[in-house]
């Protein structure tokens, strides 16, 4: 038996799926066992695209980054040869952490062929709360919420910025009693910050067309979103706990005075903090050592047969 034979193991809560299979197919099967792969917003998205696409999604708030939830991969190298990294168990320190490396940077080195995903238990009831108020009040609310013990159990904490509107969305899953307890506790935090909350059917779907992706620290992320949308229009979706921002500028934004310069400034600030801003609108300015290492690895892996 190879570790990377396709499998679905409901008992151990993991599955090895082809990279081209839609994540919804896996989630339908897993739902029958009360399980799901939580880091998915679009059920039609192929698993390979999902894991190499965004490093964070809404439910990364609770379940961690994409790389924390990919247990292993069969990966096609630039040489065209498949190579196995990681495995199927939830802890693995055998050799260098190539699974995490490839999930976060694999686009430069090849493509996954099969992916082993970690599944999680799915609670019966899902409650999404929409929190609204002025930006300042919502900031107070978010700061207060992120200091509470609820951060350990809430699935998602996203913020959406459109025009002058800002709203935070919290998703929580439990049984009916647990959900009632959650709503009561959140109302208390909201009241203390002067924020309104109301249940909504589901989390907003993060934009698939974001041309600007910013990874920064928590305190800088929401102000950056507010500033971008306020000055240049468009809309922004923030995975608040992970300080990861997806920004969809208006169609002609790059022609607007100051837009590219602002992106450059955000990029520099993020890089100084060990974050980054990715966009096709700016030329990449990767460090010399990074470019050289990427090139060397690529060349080496091209020759691996």
């Amino acid at each position: 038996m190879s570790l990377f034979d396709l499998f679905y193991d409901g008992v151990d809560m993991s599955a090895c799926v082809p990279a081209g299979e839609a994540v919804g197919v896996l989630n339908r099967r897993a739902a029958a066992d009360g399980l799901h792969y939580p880091l998915c917003a679009d059920a039609a998205q192929p698993v390979g695209e999902l894991v190499l696409g965004l490093p964070f999604t809404s439910r990364s708030f609770r379940y961690g980054a994409m790389a924390d939830n990919v247990l292993g991969m069969r990966f096609t190298l630039p040489s065209g040869q498949p190579v196995d990294v990681g495995g199927r168990v939830v802890k693995n320190v055998t050799g260098f952490e190539l699974t995490r490396f490839l999930v976060n940077s694999g686009r430069h080195f090849g493509a996954p062929e099969r992916v082993v995903l970690r599944l999680r238990p799915l609670a019966e009831v899902c409650r999404v709360l929409r929190c609204t108020g002025s930006f300042e009040r919502l900031q107070d609310f978010a700061r207060a919420f992120l200091r509470t013990s609820w951060v350990h159990v809430v699935d998602a904490c996203d913020a959406c910025f459109t025009g002058t509107d800002v709203a935070y969305f919290l998703e929580f899953r439990a049984n009916a009693e647990g959900v009632a307890v959650f709503e009561k506790a959140l109302r208390a935090v909201a009241d203390a910050s002067g924020v309104e909350i109301a249940p909504v059917p589901e989390l907003p779907i993060p934009p698939a067309t974001a041309t600007v992706r910013l990874k920064t620290v928590i305190s800088k992320a929401a102000p950056a979103a507010q500033m971008l949308v306020g000055r240049f229009g468009g809309r922004a979706h923030l995975f608040a706990g992970n300080a990861y921002l997806l920004y969809v500028p208006e169609a002609d934004a790059e022609k607007r005075p100051g837009f590219l310069q602002t992106l450059g400034e955000l990029h520099n600030e993020a890089c100084d903090l060990g974050g980054h801003l990715e966009t096709p609108l700016l030329a990449p300015d990767h460090a010399d050592w990074d470019r050289r290492w990427c090139q060397e690895l690529y060349q080496k892996w091209k020759k691996l047969d």
């Binding site: 952490e97 060990g274 990449p284």
Partner: protein
Amino acid sequence: MESPGRSAWRSEWTRGLVAIAGAARVLTDRASLINYENDALGFHRFRPDCVVIPDGSEELAALVRYARDAALPYTVRGSGTGLSGGSVAAEGGLILHLSRLKRILEVNVADQYCVVEPGVVLHRLNEHLEAHGLFYPPDPSSGYASTLGGNVAENAGGIRCFKYGVTANYVLGVEALLLDGRLLRFGGPAGGLGRAAADWRALMVGSEGMLATFTRLWLRLKPLPEKVWTFLATFARLEDAADMIVQLVHHPAFPVAIEFVDNKVVKLVEASPMAAGLDPDSWLLVVELDGPEPLVDLQARELEELLRRGKTRKVERTSDKEERLKLWKARKVAAGLMGQVSPDFFIQDAVIPRSCLGEVLRFIYEEAEKEGIHALNVFHAGDGNLHPNFLFDARNHDETEKIHRLGHRLMEKVVACGGTLSGEHGIGNDKMEYIGLIFGPREIALQRSLLDLFNPNHQLNPGKVFPLRSYVGCCVPEKP
């Protein structure tokens, strides 16, 4: 007896090291060096030629540059609590002991991260964070002694990792000194890629001291949970405990920890002055739940019902801090007691799919019995992370051979079940021989291509993880 060639070679570069770090922190006498011959694994002893205890990262940088130019193999050491023989000088040369790089440089409450030097001991960090209402979740049981540098280099896990994840999930950034003397930062407070297209930080975590020397770490923090419940459940049969593990793992309340203690350990505890008042012939699960008070109180009731519905003999639960410690007692005192009843014990580390727990545990007991060796199991059941302890006497060659055979058969079984060689202790030099069980030639070449980038002549921590990793540029007259 050392050869004159080696002795002259040694005194030449010792002078250079003393010029950088001062004589008091350059150790060359036998009595001092013996302390660095092994890590907590206890065997695979190699005496370094010299140990230096740098006083800060600048001095460390000067030492690394000196070692490189003098063609000395060197190995970095945190506290030496490793259990895979990672921080020993397998080819002699230098050990850089980072115990003095122990400053907590920043705690950022708003952005929930801290910056530390690599020699900070894990528990000291958590003590410091308590006043800020924050904590650093990965919790290896060696936390009172092990350093964060060692934790990051081994990608340490621990009891709480079932819910909170392992060290890799919490490393936002690593500042590292490369073999060529450059100091680079991978990631940082924001935990992104920085000015890089690839995630080099991900490779640093778990790199077992082979890629670079960490000089500064950015770590993600979490708010302290409001309330914690601890449960203790006893079972008459292994299979019943194994069934319950699977049910707990599937529970949406997501326990923090699901720890297993076998009936042999319980017997040992109950026959000792540390007795916890347990039925000596029972198998034990210790489970913990944390989070916001009103929610965990509710979930604690659900979990209790689940445990009682299983084939449990007895279920206890408490949220009182002192009482919780009592429920943890058998789990926590087990390692110390094993050390008392046997001259040596060998703790293995492997991970298996949780669906195979019962089968692999039975295999361990049967194989150990065939060899006439006592096997005791205490481990992180929620993660399927086994830690069988084999009791033996290292002075008895025959017993050492048996331990070796047992280790080999266990690894074969683990891999056959779809598991892996290590979940948290790393490969070091102890498990190097098994690496071919898990990686094919192409996978090994892939892994080694990273060494070609960072440590091409294996000057940094030679003789670890991958076979035939010998320092090739060495001017050591003869290798030990």
